[in-house]
């Protein structure tokens, strides 16, 4: 009896793992040369958990960069990301992740990021706020085409880019500037999801 249950459990486990592996694009398959996951940096999220970006492989990722002390631009970027999340079709939402990477690692500690996440009321099972070392931040920024520098007011001047990564971490679309609506971004995401199926 127990053995059979155990065997069933095992079979189920194997099946689910297999499906998960396939869904995750099979981590064993080599990364495309253009994938951002080729950058191997180790980040820390708002809960203090260390992780690499490649953990999100297999999902569609909406990624942006900024910093929590940002007066108006970064909240606007996050607001755009929230709009996209709110308008995702239900069956798609589970396959999408949102990542916000800080360009101010000195001030944006995990507790700071946590407070930021809570202030926006995001779904933290699918939203990640990341901090890392200066080199990693710059590498990622360059790969995304994101420009930033310290300004005289003690903050940063920076671009406003929201990027869409496909399941393998390649850039599929970028929204430049804080747009009136992110409808085009959403449409691209939906199209990407459909063609991936």
């Amino acid at each position: 009896m127990i053995a059979r249950a155990a065997a069933l459990c095992l079979a189920a486990f194997v099946a689910i793992s297999a499906i998960a592996a396939v869904r995750a694009g099979d981590a064993a398959a080599p990364l495309p040369g253009d994938s951002l996951y080729n950058l191997d940096a180790l980040w820390t999220n708002q809960d203090g958990v260390p992780l690499k970006l490649s953990r999100m492989r297999g999902k569609f990722v909406v990624v942006a960069m900024g910093y929590t002390n940002c007066p108006d631009l970064c909240p606007a970027i996050v607001a755009d990301m929230l709009w996209i999340d709110a308008h995702l079709p239900r069956d798609l939402a589970a396959r999408v992740r949102f990542a916000f990477v800080s360009i101010d690692p000195k001030r944006d500690t995990p507790p700071k990021l946590k407070a930021f996440a809570e202030a926006f009321g995001v779904d933290q099972t699918r939203w990640t706020f990341l901090t890392g070392d200066d080199d990693s931040v710059r590498d990622l920024a360059e790969a995304l085409g994101f420009r930033y520098r310290r300004n005289a007011q003690g903050g940063f001047d920076h671009s406003a880019i929201i990027s869409l990564l496909d399941e393998d971490g390649e850039i599929a679309f970028q929204q430049n500037g804080v747009a009136a609506s992110s409808q085009e971004f959403l449409s691209k995401l939906e199209t990407l999801a459909q063609s991936a199926d």
């Binding site: 994938s35 590498d139 420009r147 300004n151 005289a152 007011q153 001047d157 920076h158 406003a160 500037g177």
Partner: protein, 258 residues
């Protein structure tokens, strides 16, 4: 016997740092008046006589050579031409070389390495325990405390007037400035850590902000000296680049702690 031992030890102490030091020179601390004047958000116009303090740092006296870069890729296979990820360098990476580990000839060893991306340049400097200079550091080093600026302009304009050469000359043969830095202009364009910041305006809601400062009105309004054409050229070139780009006449040199 003991004396000879001490003498040898002392010689070693003197010799090794000297060998390391000759690759780079100290650029002393000072103030730099930036070429691009940034208007703070909400300000009516850029700050007038804005200078920024620059702490002392080391800068390679010449650009990195093909020979040096070859040693690097020999040791770090992931940066070789046939194995590098497209994310990190475009299709022209190291195209002046014969193949992954072979230069065209012996003379190329001493020529500046070109066709390297920002990622590759960074990785090389990191492997030497160094880093890329910031644009401010690089321009401050070129400004040479006001010395030789006419010569810098003359060399730059002459260099712009000539088409790209098939082969670049050896490093170290060009103009040497007051800090002991050679070939800052006239040989290759050079990567810096934050090469793309000139192309920014403080008003970053402008989706095309990338190019606003790099051409026409934007450039004329926001620079310290609109007659400094070579400076415009350097900043425009930087603004046109992406981190994975490579070019036939784009190389780099490394910076470090003083």
């Amino acid at each position: 016997m003991r004396g000879a031992g001490w003498a040898a030890f002392a010689a070693l102490l003197v010799a090794s740092p000297a060998a390391a030091e000759s690759r780079s020179a100290v650029v002393p601390a000072g103030f730099y008046a930036p070429f691009e004047r940034v208007k703070a958000v909400g300000a009516a116009s850029p700050a007038t006589e804005e200078t920024v303090p620059v702490p002392a740092f080391r800068l390679d006296v010449t650009p990195v050579t093909n020979g040096e870069f070859l040693a690097f890729v020999t040791e770090h296979a992931e940066w070789r031409r046939s194995t590098i990820k497209p994310l990190l360098a475009d299709a022209h990476y190291l195209r002046r070389w014969t193949d992954d580990l072979t230069l065209v000839d012996e003379a190329q060893r001493n020529e500046p390495v070109t066709n390297v991306s920002w990622f590759a340049a960074r990785a090389y400097c990191r492997a030497q325990g160094k880093r890329l200079p910031t644009t401010t550091e690089w321009e401050y080093a070129l400004a040479d405390a006001g010395r030789g600026q006419d010569e810098v302009r003359r060399i730059s304009l002459e260099w712009f007037a000539k088409p790209n050469a098939q082969r670049l000359g050896p490093v170290g043969a060009g103009y040497r400035n007051g800090y002991g830095l050679v070939d800052m202009v006239g040989l290759v364009w050079e990567w810096t850590l934050d090469y793309d910041v000139f192309a920014m305006s403080a008003e970053t809601r402008d989706p095309n902000g990338k190019d606003a400062a790099a051409f026409c009105g934007g450039a004329a309004a926001g620079v310290r000296d609109p007659n400094d054409y070579p400076a415009f050229m350097r900043f425009s070139l930087r603004a046109s680049l992406k981190a994975s780009d490579t070019a036939d006449n784009l190389g780099f040199r490394c910076a470090g702690n003083p």
